[in-house]
């Protein structure tokens, strides 16, 4: 295992070392010590390696991740795993706003709570939050799944496209064009598989499903009150 202490090395040094693994992978297991909330840690990775970050991270940790498996042993700042393409990002603590924003693929697991706009404009990623999510989560969500084991804040799924949303707890309010939907067998299977991948011990049948009503897909004069 390769260990880098961020009180001795810069984030630039760390990221360059991790990016170099794309060209030639010399070390599969990496450990990052004393991140102290610094921004842009382990972003832009493109190799099947594991990175354990032992402490809290700042903005955009694991941004645009491809293939790598990154674990944050602490809280994550704004935009964790933003625009992730593949791989896994796991936050052992809480995540700030815009977690998994615009992410295209991979799995983001947040073991604590997530702030506002979790999964905003998500494009195919799967996000599993063991706690609750803040307001405007999954705003303009396009594809993928958002699973919330706790509660969801105001305006969940506002202006939703085709993301699947599953919530176990209370939803404070649904956003424009987001509605409760029937939980059919295929959804229970999908959710069960997601919970298993995330290592979360919950029963899929305890969740409710939410999705798009598809009423705002094309502009209609009669819908102006929703805009």
């Amino acid at each position: 295992m390769k260990t880098i202490n961020l009180t001795e090395s810069t984030v630039r040094d760390l990221n360059q070392a991790l990016h170099d693994q794309t060209v030639e992978c010399t070390e599969r297991e990496w450990e990052v010590l004393e991140p102290k909330g610094q921004h842009n840690i382990a972003c832009g990775l493109d190799q099947n390696i594991s990175v354990d970050i032992k402490g809290p991270t700042g903005y955009f940790c694991a941004g645009m991740n491809k293939k790598a498996h990154i674990t944050i042993h602490g809280n994550a700042g704004q935009g964790v795993a933003e625009n992730m393409m593949s791989g896994t990002v796991r936050v052992k603590g809480n995540a700030s706003q815009a977690a998994g924003a615009t992410a295209h693929g991979g799995l983001l697991v947040i073991e604590g709570d997530a702030g506002a706009r979790c999964g905003i404009s998500m494009k195919g990623v799967d996000i599993v939050v063991k706690g609750s999510v803040g307001h405007m989560s999954c705003f303009m969500g396009q594809a993928g799944s958002l699973v919330v084991c706790g509660d969801a804040g105001d305006a969940l799924g506002d202006s939703l496209y085709e993301t699947h949303i599953y919530v176990k707890g209370e939803v404070k309010s649904l956003g424009a064009d987001c509605i409760a939907k029937e939980m059919r067998e295929e959804h229970i299977e999908e959710l069960t598989e997601l919970l298993n991948r995330a290592g979360v011990d919950e029963q899929a049948t305890a969740f409710k499903r939410y999705g798009t009503a598809r009423q705002l897909y094309n502009f209609k004069v009669d819908n102006t009150s929703a805009y």
Binding site: R12, N40, C43, G44, F60, Q78, E82, M85, R117, F139
Partner: protein, 442 residues
């Protein structure tokens, strides 16, 4: 067209409620929805035609037109990037999306720009192989929607442009209506086919200049600090926006005036938000100069650039380069009279067509219709664009040499005078024949 209508002498048309205004009121009453269109502001605005160059005479000597060199190249991104982008001419192609434009049009833009050694720019819809393949220098736009955004394309880019806004609609997001969301466009944007795509006006994961500084740092980290990072703003509070963009870490700032074009937005937005390009440049330059960053952080200006005089005037006011969008499309064949009959069929006319959002462009440029697209030969259209870029450059050089400058970037405000009080005040140059600059400042 009002010119075609014979009006009986003595009848007086209202200047306030003219026929265009009345037509729009009737259209609104019938449909209940605002008018959406493409193109840029069509109203008359103070513009570069209101400025003139003071050619050399007794107190200055000119350069020989065909003997003495006048440099046109410019290097962008010298502040932080390991690989700044070098343009042979100071005219670049502005961001226009695949989706708004056909694949052939994007390819033609790449071909034309590459022939002249300059760059093209992606748009709200990701990078296509055609565009990357044909553009020797490609700027990758980073937009709020993040459609098609991925780190592989990011690393393929020669520069990254973080878009905060555009001149046609500062404060507005992208718009691509369902008729243009074909299977390919839908897949690139991860959207269902045929939906109206109204992309966000704010970035999803950062707000404000402090966050932007961190976002720029992230983009630099992902690309290992190789390529320049631009920040593009629509011209509004330009003085402050430029200062904040410099503080956030931009290598290059792009200021797009309200004459800048769009593929689709509300008419009310296009005509009533933003400031003219002419007014924006001195604000941007003043901000850079006050920070000691003029020429260190390069300034690209766009919005209504049509000829070499416009290019030269932008540079004399302090820009390092200009970007063209509408003019480039016209060079490809947009609004060409050869399609007059077809324009009539869709309720428009050559020279007036602006319904880019409908996807019915007879010239095959702002469309995704496979049959219409075939009308645009990317090789021929690319050659036309290269010719046009060459003319812009030659014209700008002609004016620079007349002012005694051996580099386009040596043009300066002192070479200019204004024809109107308004343009003198906006451009911060004297009214012609006087030493009077109205207002003195902003």
């Amino acid at each position: 067209m009002s010119d075609d209508i014979k009006v009986k002498p003595g009848l007086r048309e209202s200047a306030t409620f003219d026929r265009t205004t009345m037509t729009e009121i009737r259209r609104a009453a019938e449909t209940g929805i605002y008018d959406i269109r493409g193109f840029g502001a069509k109203r008359k605005l103070p513009h570069f035609d209101d400025l003139l160059f003071l050619g050399a005479s007794m107190s200055r000597y000119p350069l020989e037109g065909y003997r003495e060199k006048c440099n046109t190249s410019v290097t962008l991104g010298t502040r932080y990037a390991k690989k700044p982008i070098v343009l042979d001419i100071p005219v670049t192609i502005a961001g226009m999306s695949f989706g708004a434009l056909s694949a052939n049009a994007k390819e033609a833009l790449g071909r034309g720009a590459s022939l002249m050694g300059t760059s093209t720019t992606t748009g709200d819809g990701g990078m296509t192989p055609e565009e990357r393949g044909q553009s020797s220098k490609l700027v990758y736009q980073y937009l709020p929607s993040r459609y098609g955004m991925n780190p592989d394309d990011l690393r393929k880019a020669d520069a990254i442009e973080v878009v905060l806004g555009q001149g046609a609609k500062p404060g507005g997001g992208g718009m691509l209506l369902g008729q243009k969301i074909t299977d390919r466009v839908a897949k690139m944007r991860t959207l269902p086919m045929g939906v109206d795509q109204r992309s966000a006006c704010r970035h999803p994961d950062w707000t404000g200049p402090d966050d932007l500084a961190i976002k720029i740092q992230e983009l630099r980290e992902i690309t290992d600090w190789q390529v320049p990072i631009y920040i593009k703003v629509g011209a509004t509070r330009t003085y402050y926006d430029v200062k904040l963009a410099v503080k956030a870490g931009a290598d290059v700032i792009v200021v797009d005036g309200m004459q800048g074009g769009t593929a689709a937005t509300q008419e009310v937005f296009i005509e009533h938000v933003g400031i003219p390009t002419l007014a924006a440049i001195p604000q941007a330059v003043r901000a850079l100069q006050e920070m000691g960053m003029h020429r260190k952080v390069q300034l690209i200006v766009s919005g209504g650039i049509r000829n070499g005089a416009d290019v030269a005037k932008c540079m004399a006011l302090g820009a390092d380069a200009v970007a063209i969008g509408t003019a480039a499309l016209v060079a490809l064949g947009c609004n060409h009279p050869m399609y007059e009959e077809e324009f009539k069929k869709i309720g428009s006319a050559a020279g007036f067509y602006d319904d880019y959002h409908e996807g019915k462009d007879p010239a095959g440029i702002s469309t995704q219709d496979p049959e219409l697209m075939k009308r645009l030969d990317p090789v021929t259209a690319g050659r036309h664009l290269a010719n046009y870029l060459n003319v812009l450059t030659l014209e700008a050089q002609t004016l620079a040499r007349a002012c005694g400058k051996n580099d386009l970037r040596n043009l300066e405000p002192e070479d200019l005078v204004a024809l109107t009080v308004e343009s003198a005040a906006m451009a911060n140059v004297p009214l012609a024949g006087t030493s009077w600059i109205p207002g003195k400042g902003f």
